[in-house]
């Protein structure tokens, strides 16, 4: 007989953190779009937790707020809220594109950015853009707060550095410089409700025909989305007009293989990733040309 589990609903962050501090087998639940599937499919899920902690009412985890130098996206912000946000559309279009490509309307209405990242699937679509925009994650526990760069949040598939007594409160994204180009692309096996076969987030800061700063984060290509430093080095501080998309794309696929080794899917992922990198760079050049 599956054991009974408890259900807590907290209105106050402190109360929620206290519960988590007292019982590290409590599982926070927000939109439930991953958790409810896991609970159904994993025979032992219910055995391994003491209960569910409904965090949806916690104000500190909600909303998109613009600060002087950064923007906060609460962990409870749904994919649909990201899609609808004018400020995110304007400044973080790659993140908006990633959120729009997730699941279906029903999933985007319930699924949150916090849940997407905390679930830490290799194909989680929002983590790549968050890393590319150099977001920090604010983690809070009853003992205090700590800040972890988005790039360091996920250690391996379905595993994060977030402790059982901690909640992901929000992501803090630095405001991009004026001429920032961002691009997100995704390949799936169908046009909606598609698990990402491969994705790419690319964010580049442009000034005087040069790429000042760049982040290139492919998704579903490595166990955990990570910036491709070698590729970035081929782009950073270069004249945009001199960038050779095809060469850089080839370097990207080499970098992927250097991380993952040759796998059964590599013969597909290499050329496909090259296509995405090429297209992002071609678009970057077009944007730069128009300025």
């Amino acid at each position: 007989m599956k054991k009974d589990i408890s259900f807590y609903h907290c209105e106050e962050l402190d109360a929620a953190l206290k519960l988590l501090a007292e019982d590290n087998n409590l599982k926070p639940i927000a939109g439930g779009t991953d958790l409810m599937v896991e609970m159904r499919n994993d025979e032992n899920f219910q055995e391994n937790i003491s209960g569910l902690l409904d965090i949806t009412a916690l104000e500190e985890l909600q909303g998109i707020t613009v600060k002087e130098n950064h923007i906060n996206i609460g962990a409870l912000v749904t994919h649909q809220e990201i899609v609808n946000s004018e400020v995110l559309q304007e400044k973080y279009s790659a993140l908006v594109a990633a959120a729009a490509a997730i699941g279906s309307t029903q999933i985007r209405n319930r699924g949150t950015i916090g849940g997407n990242v905390c679930n830490a699937a290799a194909c989680a679509d929002t983590l790549g853009p968050l890393i590319a925009f150099e977001a920090d994650a604010l983690l809070e526990s009853y003992a205090g707060e700590r800040v972890v760069p988005a790039a360091d949040l996920v250690t391996r598939p379905y595993q994060t550095v977030i402790r059982d007594d901690e909640l992901l409160k929000c992501f803090r994204l630095p405001l991009p410089a004026a001429d920032t180009f961002s691009n997100f692309q995704k390949i799936g096996r169908r046009q909606a409700l598609a698990i990402t076969r491969i994705s790419l987030a690319l964010v580049a800061q442009i000034a005087d025909g040069m790429v000042k700063q760049v982040k290139v984060v492919p998704g579903s290509t490595t166990p955990v989305p990570e910036p491709f430093a070698g590729v970035e080095a081929r782009i950073r501080d270069r004249k945009i007009a001199d960038l050779k998309p095809a060469e850089i794309a080839a370097a990207a696929s080499e970098e992927m293989v250097s991380i993952t080794g040759e796998r059964w899917s590599t013969p597909y992922k290499k050329p496909a990733l090259e296509t995405l990198v090429t297209r992002a760079l071609v678009q970057l050049k077009e944007v730069a040309d128009n300025e």
């Binding site: 007989m1 599956k2 025979e43 279906s104 390949i187 096996r189 169908r190 046009q191 909606a192 409700l193 598609a194 698990i195 076969r197 059964w264 899917s265 013969p267 597909y268 050329p271 496909a272 090259e274 296509t275 995405l276 090429t278 297209r279």
Partner: protein
């Protein structure tokens, strides 16, 4: 001909209101007093010996009322064609969906939890996974008691194929394969069996596609009279050929448990259970050898098509039979040698799915026509026009097509013109700069209507006029979601000149409805519709006698606007009043209607004869956009022209065309069960992908072509299956034009389109 009031009109579906309000009950929506919930325990291995089953822990679980294994089942075997499917596996499991034990409990939760406590000890056996292995002389034998793995072989011989190939200027050989496909009805299977309800031994409610087939199975398993088993169909949440043998197995299981507990037992599959246990579309491996003259004239075809039957015979003998008739396509070929086979393997068993044996062979055949055209420097349209059937052509079975209009030219012209094929074909043949390239392709087919030489082809219906003029309609063929009730109601309404609202089309009930064979083979409108028409005509004969007597009019009666009129247009009597008066005069205004299809013939040795009494013709074209950098394919536009004889309900016909085209798109591009040595990896809709609204083409032009057929009611023939058999080949041909590379294996997924080959973890 006076204008029809009820048929040839896009009448609203008679079941739509119940369905949009949520009031329509489906199998899992039923509840009965004291009802128990059943749970089946399935094998852990695709092929294994069952050493021992310990059910004691499950029996002790609170709420459990019965736990059963094969030994508790009176007669454990059933099957429509060959009786070799097990209700529960006895000593050996043959595929990953075989049930080994079952139980019924007072709650769903108890049933699920207790099922985990049934301990089964297996000895895993090596399995046969794939027809290549199954057909080897030294292959292990899958089906106990058989000498080898061959389920069936259908030969067809016409002319002399070797001579034909010698005469040819060009001989081309190609191999094509298609995959296992899931029906993916959105409603998982559900049945409820109520024991000793009214005068029956068991009454079965649920998502039963073919109530009489399920009745046969249940009566056989319970070893009782057919009259003691009553099947009442609920609304069907999609079937597409897929709720037949698997539902029969469920009904048998629930029936045995219901009798053991003397309580109603409900079995509802989860999606995973559905995908693991249910039968699939047959995967085919096809070798085609075609000989042609330089001008494109076909002189010979040699075809071997091998279907994977999986663990049971199920419908393989008939599925492969349809393949043999359609394998050469709608083309005149003087010399033909075709061999289609089915082989047992330890994969999921395969059975009926929309299209039956035709979609795989059409995929191969119509892909190959394009390959041949390219080789001969002809256009796809030219090579087809040169060879396709016309009136009085002879088929590969040597049947002369002389009793209906052979409308291939018309369907092809209309489909191609609707999508602007010729201009686009020229345009996409030019070099395209972008990595995203377009292509356009099409396919044509002829398809035998109804069962053909598979089985007796007759159906019945009851039209019963009540004394207030309302009408109850019972049909032996069943509503599976396709719109049968609407079409049959329209036919009855047309004949009796009444409004559709007067008619109540009841659920199929095997204790009332005349046994009519299965609702398959796109036969309902023609065969079942003719039976409804006949029943109404019988009633009109009685009415005519009564009118002569009662109203002193013996001329031709015109039935329209809920009344009877003289041929001069003078009103005789309102229909309700007629019904009442007839009743009070002791005149019986109800009738069975029975229709038996025209005769056919078939020689099993040579594949020659008259396999179907008539045919339909169709053409579908697809325009695709292929991302040559990622392998993504978007089907942008499709057009589909189908000769349906006559559309009883044009909106329904279009609905079948749209749905068929998109189902074919799914098979062509994405559907994949993820097989690994008998295991299925893609067991839910997150991995077994079917098209979403965004995958459907932006536009599908559905063109209804009408050449009324003497055999059908008002000239009507079929549309359900014709609509889905062409899309795969059309899309494949379009992709080939866009990429310049010909693919020959389905599905045309990202890897195949980008690399030209599939990738798999197994390799």
């Amino acid at each position: 001909m006076p204008e029809k009031k009820q048929v040839n009109k896009s009448k609203k579906r008679v079941d739509a209101r119940a369905k949009v309000t949520g009031k329509a009950k489906f199998g899992a929506d039923l509840k009965f007093h004291n009802m128990l919930y059943g749970q089946v325990v399935r094998t852990e291995y695709p092929h294994a010996k069952i050493i021992n089953i310990n059910k004691s822990k499950a029996e002790e679980y609170p709420g459990v009322e019965v736990v059963m294994t094969a030994e508790d089942i009176p007669n454990n075997l059933f099957g429509v064609i060959i009786e070799n499917q097990q209700v529960l596996a006895e000593d050996r499991v043959l595929y990953i969906g075989d049930g080994v034990a079952m139980l019924a409990a007072r709650s769903k939760k108890a049933a699920r939890e207790a099922a985990k406590l049934i301990e089964v000890e297996y000895e895993e056996l090596p399995g046969v996974y794939g027809v290549e292995e199954a057909r080897q002389a030294d292959s292990p034998v899958v089906m106990p008691g058989e000498e080898n793995n061959q389920v069936i072989h259908h030969p067809l011989r016409k002319g002399d194929v070797s001579e034909g190939l010698t005469e040819a200027d060009i001989v081309m050989e190609r191999k094509y394969t298609t995959q296992f496909v899931e029906h993916a009805y959105i409603e998982p299977e559900a049945v409820t069996v109520v024991p000793e309800e009214r005068n029956t031994l068991v009454t079965v409610y649920g998502a039963v596609q073919n109530p009489n087939a399920t009745r046969d199975a249940v009566a056989n398993v319970l070893d009782c009279d057919l009259s003691k088993v009553r099947i009442i169909q609920d609304n069907m949440g999609g079937s597409f050929g897929g709720k037949d043998e698997n539902i029969s197995a469920m009904a048998c299981r629930a029936a045995v448990m219901a009798l053991a507990t003397n309580k109603p037992v409900q079995l509802v599959n989860s999606r995973e259970e559905s995908i693991i246990e249910s039968y699939k579309r047959h995967p085919y491996t096809m070798n085609y050898k075609i000989g042609a003259k330089d001008d494109g004239e076909l002189v010979a075809m040699e075809i071997e098509a091998v279907a994977d039957s999986g663990a049971y015979a199920c419908q393989t003998p008939f599925v492969t039979w349809r393949s043999v008739v359609q394998a050469t396509g709608p083309y005149e070929v003087p010399n033909v040698k075709t061999d289609t086979y089915g082989f047992y393997t330890n994969s999921p068993y395969t059975g009926a799915m929309r299209g039956y044996g035709s979609p795989p062979v059409i995929f191969a055949q119509e892909s190959m026509m394009d390959e041949l055209a390219a080789e001969l420097d002809l256009t796809p349209a030219e090579i087809r026009r040169k060879n396709m059937f016309k009136n009085n052509s002879r088929t590969a079975s040597n049947q002369k097509l002389d009793n209906h209009e052979v409308s291939l030219t018309e369907v092809m012209d209309k489909a191609l013109s609707a999508i602007d094929y010729h201009d686009k074909y020229e345009k996409y043949n030019q070099p395209q700069d972008s990595t995203i390239k377009r292509g356009i392709g099409f396919a044509i087919s002829y398809r035998g209507v109804s069962l053909g030489a598979e089985a007796i082809d007759a159906a019945g219906a009851i039209v019963s006029v009540q004394k207030d003029g309302s009408i109850i309609l019972y049909s032996g063929l069943a509503e599976n979601g396709q719109g049968l009730k609407t079409v049959f109601s329209q036919i009855a309404a047309e004949e009796l000149g009444v409004s559709l609202e007067r008619i109540t089309h009841m659920e199929t009930d095997t204790s009332v409805s005349p046994e009519s064979g299965s609702t398959v083979a796109s036969r309902s409108t023609l065969v079942g519709g003719s039976a409804v028409k006949k029943a109404a005509e019988n009633i009109k004969t009685v009415i005519a006698e009564f009118v002569a007597e009662e109203y002193d009019y013996s001329g031709k009666i015109i039935y329209r606007d809920d009344a009877l009129y003289t041929k001069e247009g003078e009103r005789i009597v309102a229909f309700p009043e007629l019904a009442a008066t007839a009743f009070h005069n002791g005149v019986f205004l109800s009738s069975y209607g029975w229709y038996k299809a025209p005769g056919i013939s078939w020689d099993e040795e040579t594949g020659q004869g008259r396999p179907y009494f008539t045919y339909v013709y169709g053409c579908q074209a697809a325009e695709v956009e292929v991302d040559t950098g990622t392998g993504e394919v978007k089907v942008v536009n499709m057009s589909a022209a189908h000769d349906v004889g006559k559309a009883i309900n044009p909106a329904n016909v279009r609905g079948q065309i749209y749905g068929g085209a998109v189902m074919a798109l799914g098979h062509a591009l994405m559907e994949d069960l993820g097989f690994s040595k008998g295991f299925i990896k893609h067991t839910n809709f997150d991995e077994y992908l079917i098209p979403t609204v965004k995958d459907a083409p932006e536009n599908i032009e559905a063109i209804i072509v009408e050449n009324p057929d003497p055999a059908g009611p008002y000239g009507a023939k079929s549309i359900g299956e014709p609509a889905m058999e062409l899309g795969g080949a059309a899309i494949n041909n379009a992709i080939a034009q866009a990429t310049g590379r010909r693919l020959r294996d389905l599905p045309l997924n990202l890897e195949r389109v980008l690399l030209g080959r599939n990738l798999s973890k197994e390799d």
